[in-house]
């Protein structure tokens, strides 16, 4: 939209839904003046699949775990993690301690994988393909480890309500330690390649700055928020599973540089250091692993019966590689499906920061700035409403969404 006050005509560049800079569909409508971005409009909803509807209308809670795993290909631990914690809170099932530790270990392996993948993608966005290939080659090792432990390179299928589906036995520990040692040995080199390179610094320093006040106002979570100096981490603030026995500190960029700028470079720092932190967490978990069963209720049929009869609501929060993910679940006695299921993925919140960090930047900065938030659109997209009954498809604007949301709260409170 061109306003009457501007003398120079701006034009709109669409980034998305299909664009080489984006790994998943989203539409950013950039209003540009030459190369400088004047305004950004974010359109989500391009990957809407009706997952929550399926969980509430077709699947039983155990089937919904598999759905939750597939909300996002790379977040296939954190989504079922918080979902399963929500159901366990609603139904009163407690997983055994060994299962908690196994959950923690697989969650940290997912974090290492996700951050390394992100590092390669970020390098590719700035045209530095050499480092892209390097980072992804390094990523092969964690994928081999994940395959060794869970049977698949990316999608891990570890979760069950009341525990985990597979055990990590003592015989597997040496192989796990071998991978961790590999990463410890190349971490210094990774750090040098990413943080000491001149062209990377040229492209990422003072680009896409999110100031601390803005991060607090926009509720930015995860590494994007920590890079702006907001030291919030669910593993530190509300420890769950195995994290309760460990001492986790939220990582902020002043550990390396001494100051917090909140730009893309700081986000690279935070994610790289989190890889190191994950390695240490896995090691501590391996040392402290308690013996015992891995499932509170090994018989699935009995579990399903318990779930059908259960009544209550629960909230599960986990620290995904992208930030805090929350699942809300409400169950009613006698109903085989979930009564209510609401997913709030971290990217949904982090996307609010996109207009702030893109304003004033050049078009050339859009891919790396957007990617520095590590957006996972698949996690985000279950909140656009399509009126299937009336056959209408509409994208709702903010006022409408707000009105609907308030109505729904009132409905749920009745």
């Amino acid at each position: 939209m061109i306003q009457e006050e501007t003398k120079k005509a701006t034009y709109t560049i669409p980034v998305g839904p299909i664009h080489p800079a984006l790994k998943e569909p989203i539409r950013l409508a950039l209003t540009v003046d030459g190369e400088e971005i004047v305004d950004v409009d974010v359109f989500v909803g391009q990957v809407h699949r009706g997952i929550e509807w399926l969980g509430m209308n077709r699947n039983n809670p155990i089937q919904s775990i598999y759905l939750a795993e597939r909300i996002c290909g790379i977040c296939n631990i954190c989504h079922p993690f918080s979902f399963v914690m929500a159901v366990e809170q609603a139904t009163g099932i407690t997983p055994p301690p060994r299962a908690e530790y196994i959950r923690t270990i697989t969650a940290e392996m997912e974090r290492i994988h996700s951050h390394l993948l992100w590092a390669g993608v970020a390098a590719h966005e700035i045209g530095f393909d050499t480092i892209f290939y390097l980072a992804w080659r390094v990523r092969e090792e964690i994928m081999d480890l994940i395959e060794y432990v869970t049977g698949n390179r990316v999608t891990k299928a570890m979760f069950q309500i009341g525990g985990v589906r597979r055990d990590i036995t003592e015989e597997q520990f040496p192989r796990i330690r071998q991978s961790l040692d590999y990463y410890k040995s190349i971490f210094a080199q990774l750090k040098k390649v990413f943080l000491d390179d001149i062209t990377i610094r040229m492209r990422t320093r003072n680009v896409g700055i999110l100031k601390r006040e803005d991060a607090l106002k926009l509720l930015t979570v995860g590494p994007s928020g920590r890079a702006s100096g907001v030291p919030k981490d669910v593993r530190q603030d509300q420890p769950y599973a195995g994290y309760a026995d460990l001492d986790i500190k939220a990582i902020t960029p002043d550990i390396v540089t001494g100051t917090v700028v909140g730009d893309v470079y700081d986000r690279i720092i935070v994610r790289l250091l989190e890889v190191k932190q994950s390695i240490e967490i896995i090691e501590q978990c391996l040392e402290k692993m308690p013996p015992g069963p891995i499932l509170a209720q090994p018989k699935t049929a009995v579990l399903l019966k318990t779930l059908t009869k259960a009544e209550g609501e629960g909230v599960g929060r986990a620290e995904a590689p992208r930030g805090e993910v929350v699942h809300y679940v409400r169950m009613e006695a006698g109903q085989s499906t979930l009564a209510t299921w609401k997913v709030r993925a971290p990217t949904y919140v982090n996307l609010m920061a996109v207009p702030t960090i893109l304003k004033g930047m050049q078009i050339a900065d859009v891919p790396i700035t957007f990617a520095s938030l590590d957006p996972c659109m698949s996690c985000t997209n279950r909140v656009v409403i399509t009126d299937r009954a009336a056959g209408r498809k509409s994208v709702m604007d903010y006022e409408e969404l707000h009105r609907l949301s308030v109505e729904k709260t009132k409905e749920m409170q009745r």
């Binding site: 045209g127 062209t199 050339a364």
Partner: protein, 329 residues
């Protein structure tokens, strides 16, 4: 030089130059792949790319200025191939060296970029428009250090030679290294460095490929091009890279091996000179294109412009000053 010789020579030169350009592009991709820890495509991949593009559908977008959209690739290829005729190739004299000198080549270098940008503007895509704008900015920024380099060289040679110092035959007769003392050698090295960075920019490879940045503007100028038109742009890009490397060789390394080794007979001397030329061009291409594009990320247009207009201009002016001081001493 009669018309028949010119026509026959041009055809032969363009065919030969085109063949070796594509071979060198294949070698560049292979070497870059190995430097990145990959296997890379086979050496003949550019030939396959050209063959594939020729059989693909040539789509012209509805909103495009179709005469310009179709003409731009042709003009780009023709002007790139024109460079092959004015720059000494394969150890021989430039085919049209009597009709144009290094200054003309500097002007001719502008034309393929102009055609490229025109094609982008004619594409009716916002991505292509942004790419074309970047191409224009890069073109304008590049001219400065390029011109300083060439003119400094010509000026210095002009003090030693009576013929036109910018003609390639004069430059080959009076190589800069034998004219200057130690200060001048440093100055000439600086000028050569500036020209090598300009080669990377002229060939539009990382870090200077922002006009067709894949991750930023979805292919930039080339986003709407396909089929035969894309093939012509692709060929033009390959030939231009080869020609600019040959220009660097002609200005700074114009030596011929046959005279040094003592081969007198024309045919063996021609073959030896030709092979030596290929080695020299390979060295220039490897340093200015392959290594640089493996080791760096892409610049923003503002940064690239700064590199050329400010940093490289200052550097090449320092080179010129050193050569001037060397002359006085």
């Amino acid at each position: 030089m009669n018309v028949a010789t010119i026509i026959a020579g041009s055809i032969m030169l363009v065919l030969l130059g085109g063949f070796f350009s594509m071979l060198y592009r294949g070698i560049d991709r292979k070497l870059v792949a190995h430097m990145q820890g990959r296997v890379g495509p086979p050496l003949v991949q550019p030939f396959r790319d050209v063959q594939k593009l020729l059989i693909k559908e040539n789509i012209i977008p509805d909103g495009a200025v179709s005469w310009l959209f179709n003409a731009a690739p042709f003009i780009c290829l023709i002007t790139s191939a024109l460079l092959l005729l004015y720059i000494p190739m394969f150890g021989q004299k430039a085919l049209l060296g009597g009709f144009g000198d290094a200054l003309l080549v500097v002007y001719l270098l502008i034309l393929p970029s102009l055609a490229f940008a025109a094609g982008g503007f004619a594409s009716s895509s916002p991505y292509a428009t942004v790419g074309a704008q970047r191409e224009m900015v890069l073109l304008m920024s590049l001219e400065f250090p390029l011109a300083v380099s060439v003119v400094s060289l010509g000026w210095r040679i002009g003090h030693a030679a009576t013929a036109n110092p910018f003609m390639f035959s004069t430059i080959a007769e009076y190589p800069i290294w034998s004219l200057v003392g130690p200060l001048g050698v440093i100055g000439s090295l600086i000028l050569m460095f500036a020209l090598l960075v300009a080669t990377s920019g002229k060939s539009a490879k990382v870090p200077f490929d922002m006009a067709e940045a894949e991750t930023e503007i979805a292919g930039g100028i080339l986003v709407e091009y396909s089929g035969r038109n894309l093939c012509l742009f692709y060929l033009a890009d390959i030939i231009k890279a080869f020609a600019v490397s040959a220009l660097v060789v002609a200005l700074f390394i114009p030596y011929n091996l046959s005279s040094l080794v003592g081969i007198g007979a024309p045919v063996p001397a021609g073959i030896v000179d030709g092979l030596f030329f290929l080695v020299k061009v390979f060295a220039v291409m490897f340093i200015s294109i392959s290594v640089i594009r493996t080791a760096m990320a892409r610049f923003k247009i503002s940064q690239a412009s700064w590199v050329y207009i400010i940093a490289l201009t200052i550097i090449s002016l320092i080179g010129l000053i050193l050569i001037a001081v060397d002359l006085m001493v």
